[in-house]
Symmetry: C2
Subunit: 162 residues, 2 copies
Amino acid sequence: MKRIYLAGLATLGVAICLGQSAAGAIEEPAYPEGYRRWTHVLTGVSDARFKRYEGMHNIYANPKAIEGYKADGAFPDGSVIVFDLFEVVDQEGATVATKRKFIDVMVKDSKRYAATGGWGYTEFLGDSRTDRAFTQDKAMVRCHACHVATPGRDSVITRFKD
Amino acid sequence: MKRIYLAGLATLGVAICLGQSAAGAIEEPAYPEGYRRWTHVLTGVSDARFKRYEGMHNIYANPKAIEGYKADGAFPDGSVIVFDLFEVVDQEGATVATKRKFIDVMVKDSKRYAATGGWGYTEFLGDSRTDRAFTQDKAMVRCHACHVATPGRDSVITRFKD
């Protein structure tokens, strides 16, 4: 009985620690492994007026996010959308992507990211899976501000077309 | 015994008919159902110098074709690659795809399309799954001529980058 009681306390202790840790800082969205095989939503090319977003961006959505694009309401928890940005060159009239600048990631978790419309945001520089452009607090403020200010649906600016 | 013999003859008859049919005309590659969920290879934007190919093209590959892109040698039979072309507009510095112009399809079948490097070609107009731009004879001549003349590998012009 005593042993079970201690085990129960230990489990409770772990739960409390995890809770405190989560409450202390906003959790960073993970690198979206395998996103290049997800569904391609669309591509756009932006000029210097778009400042650091200048270049060609390919947008990819995981299966949950595709459900969200297809539905009329909000995107389900687990949705992940990636904005994959490249530098471009002109090759005799053809605009061609060259070097990856960064990837922006948005992850839907309505509880974890309740303060920013249910979306967590992050940005990975170049081809890195670990090198993030911003501290998590800054990423949330910057990305959320723009996503809610731009016309779209549930903070998602793009639409999917088969 | 007699019944089995007749059944055998009937099967042989069907086989001969199919063989004659295949020999009489080049088989049209089928519409690539579901290609929008295949892997996105790359996107390019071409200006008026590219004539009927002017616009934004998204290229998609099925799993067999991805094997081909990843390997050093030829693409395996069953590879299908789609070139999905759209008109574009400029929206205050952003190049955005609008209306689908056509999709070009290349299908690898080294026996069926032996005369054109193992690739069968076709083109579907707009969003149609049935309206083809060229007779099959003409599609094979036109597409093959350009694909073998353009630098690439196994008649595939593009490269895949993760």
